[in-house]
């Protein structure tokens, strides 16, 4: 035992070797493990260095935040945000009567509160809130937006509607109208009656097979031809009908997925209890199916929301349309203005869609509690 030493008790803890902990190890494990990954990391890093700083410079650091058109004219190498702040009322309300903005504000507030309450799952009476948002809110929205002489609300015609408000009107009424239609079509497609099933399938595949641009175009140019002479629809209503029909086909496929996911035993159980078809669907199948397809519905809505930008080709001033119209203003004919306008629209859409996508994914994860890695 020469030279040996004996300690009694525990040895003090040694720090972990440099190679397994700390930022260096993390970097090595996560970014530089192996030649291939190292090369990838370096290439990607270079790409980011090349793209991110100029973009941030243009958007933030070198951008014009204050001043008017003059400031932007002096510094055309950065975004021109005064353009957005000068026109934000138009971007939000379109050409809506200034004195009547409060009507839009109320609706936006109710919408925001409704969505928050709906997203919050523990909320008591969630069913009633959903019923309110789906059935009562649209009627209320129409009366408030359009106006009603009897209630003392002056009429605001639809050509004056515009901006983000119009984007919401088209997307929301499209989705609300397409939901019942989509459910009917999905039931029709899965129906045992051959003709109904065939007709539903044809309807769904027709609308899924043509571009939305064509739908909107038909709604504007051909719809008036289809109506009895002397009768015409409001341009906005025509667009919404087109959007709703288009969305209903996608909605039908989403709902069909949900219907297919319900185990056969549920149908058989309901039938064994002697429930007739409408009751079976209403009480047993649809409540389960619709719950599973919430993520799908939200995804359809995201798609529809982005697609509302196409209404500008039929001269409706949605958010993108009104920004384009504002860009044409000769007082703001500065090179950075169009890009700033488009960047603003992109940011607004991105925030809305990303939030919805997160919600959809959260629902998906909640519903999908099976085997995960």
């Amino acid at each position: 035992m020469a030279g040996g030493r004996i300690y009694s008790g525990d040895l003090p803890d040694q720090p972990a070797p440099m190679a397994t902990e700390g930022p260096v190890a993390w970097l090595r494990d996560n970014m530089f493990n192996g030649v291939f990954n190292t090369v990838l990391t370096i290439l990607m890093g270079l790409l980011l260095l090349w793209m991110v700083p100029p973009a941030l410079n243009w958007l933030v650091f070198n951008a014009n935040w204050t001043g008017g058109a003059e400031a932007c004219r002096v510094n055309p190498d950065g975004a021109c945000w005064p353009f957005v702040s000068a026109r934000w009322e138009q971007f939000l309300y379109g050409f809506y009567e200034k004195s009547e903005y409060w009507r839009v504000n109320i609706l936006l507030a109710v919408l925001a509160v409704g969505i928050v309450l709906l997203v919050f799952e523990k909320m008591p009476g969630r069913k009633y809130i959903a019923f309110f948002m789906l059935f009562i809110y649209p009627i209320m929205a129409f009366i408030l937006l359009y106006g009603n002489e009897k209630l003392g609300l002056p009429i605001v015609d639809t050509p004056q509607w515009g901006g983000f408000m119009l984007t919401l009107v088209i997307a929301l009424s499209g989705i609300v109208a397409s939901l019942p239609l989509g459910i009917l079509l999905a039931l029709g497609r899965r129906s045992k009656m051959p003709i109904i099933s065939l007709l539903s399938t044809i309807f769904i595949e027709f609308w899924r097979g043509i571009p939305l641009v064509a739908v909107l175009f038909m709604a504007t140019i051909m719809f008036p031809l289809f109506l009895p002479p002397g009768m015409s629809f409001d341009q906005l209503l025509r667009a919404i009908i087109g959007v709703a029909l288009f969305a209903s086909a996608y909605m039908a496929e989403v709902v069909r997925g949900g219907l297919q996911a319900i185990p056969k035993g549920q149908y058989e159980g309901a039938m064994a209890l002697g429930l007739p078809y409408p009751k079976m669907m209403r009480l047993i199948v649809l409540p389960q199916a619709l719950k599973i397809v919430i993520p799908g519905i939200v995804n359809t809505f995201i798609g529809l929301f982005k697609d509302t930008t196409l209404v500008l080709i039929i001269a409706l001033f949605d958010l993108l349309g009104i920004v384009q119209a504002s860009i044409a203003d000769p007082n703001w004919s500065i090179r950075s203005v169009p890009y700033s306008g488009y960047a603003f629209v992109a940011i607004v859409f991105w925030i809305c869609c990303y939030a919805m996508a997160r919600y959809s994914r959260y629902m998906e994860a909640k519903l999908h509690t099976g085997h995960k890695r």
Partner: protein, 338 residues
């Protein structure tokens, strides 16, 4: 049809408008609803463009305001429907709008097929704009050039005709909207930008260096731009026609918004008839006799409207040119009010 009708009735946003046939039907309908529904472009500076307050301005817009002033004595009794080039005639024939003032070229096909033109409020013609650096002095030197233009208008056909007639090669890049054409031309996608000369002037302000570009002398087409109304209601057409003529005649007779009240007391019988202090020019149209005086005092005469919207002091910087009065070397010539 019952179904479609009940859909229409139930549809929450439906706003049915009947098509007019009898002589005064449109006027009656307009008076009943209390405003004129006027179709304009989605945004063409100088002709019809919403400003940052959302107020529409422009030459076409002033014409619509003039009609409102003629009918209601109130230039604000008008609502604007922005229309794309493609849907403008459908909107008119279906009764969605009462009058279309959307820098529309008066052609025979359009006059017979779509509506009744009531006059010309701007004489235009298609021209070319090129970068100065190109060193081109005439459109005839443009052999092999790439041409940017708008699709869906007469412009695209005119340019094809011009190049073919002169045996010149070209490639055409045709965009849906004017803004896109300007952006592409500015980025160097084309050597030439062609559209109506008023449009060239308007769009030139949006280039990054407007002074580096010149408009070539050639005018390759006649583009008389004017308002039109539906066929079958000539009474309504008359109101539109004489609202326009009123503005032009007022300039000729030296009456403007500033001196209208004073001029109404003038001894000149022509002015007296126009201002409604003598004769029954207004009631012949089913309007108040002071209809023209209302237009002048609230909107102004043609010169005022021109200077305010497209004249040399505006970003468009357009000289009167052929749009000057016939008595001043132009071709603007309104029929007399008598």
């Amino acid at each position: 049809m019952q179904l479609t009708k009940s859909i229409a009735a139930a549809a929450v946003l439906a706003a049915s408008v009947g098509t007019a046939h009898a002589a005064s039907e449109t006027l009656d309908a307009v008076k009943a609803k209390g405003f004129v529904q006027c179709g304009v472009s989605q945004g063409l500076p100088g002709f019809s463009n919403p400003d940052d307050q959302g107020k529409w301005t422009g030459l076409d817009v002033d014409f619509c305001r003039g009609m409102a002033a003629a009918i209601f004595g109130d230039a604000e009794a008008v609502k604007f429907t922005p229309l794309s080039a493609k849907v403008r005639f459908t909107a008119l024939t279906s009764g969605e709008i009462d009058v279309l003032a959307r820098n529309t070229t008066w052609t025979q096909t359009r006059d017979t097929d779509f509506g009744e033109f009531v006059g010309v409020n701007y004489y235009d013609g298609q021209g070319f704009m090129v970068p100065k650096a190109l060193g081109v002095a005439s459109a005839l030197e443009l052999d092999g050039a790439a041409v940017c233009t708008n699709t869906g208008t007469t412009t695209e056909l005119n340019v094809a005709d011009f190049f073919r007639a002169n045996n010149l090669n070209y490639t055409v890049v045709a965009f849906e909207k004017a803004d896109e054409v300007v952006a592409a031309y500015d980025a160097g996608r084309c050597d030439v930008y062609t559209t109506d000369r008023s449009g060239l002037a308007a769009q030139r302000t949006k280039l990054s260096k407007p002074d580096d570009h010149v408009v070539l002398p050639e005018i390759i087409s006649k583009e008389p731009l004017g308002p039109l109304v539906r066929h079958g209601d000539s009474g309504w057409g008359d109101i539109a026609r004489w609202s326009l003529n009123c503005m032009i005649n007022a300039e000729e007779l030296g009456v403007n918004s500033g001196n209208a009240a004073e001029m109404a007391k003038s001894d000149n019988p022509g002015i007296k008839r126009m201002m409604g202090t003598e004769g029954d020019m207004g009631s012949k149209l089913g309007l108040d006799n002071s209809f023209c005086s209302n237009i002048i005092s609230s909107v102004g005469n043609y010169a005022e409207s021109y200077d305010r919207n497209v004249g040399p002091d505006t970003p468009l910087k357009l000289d009167r040119g052929v749009n000057a009065l016939w008595s001043q070397g132009g071709i603007l010539y309104a029929a007399p009010m008598r």
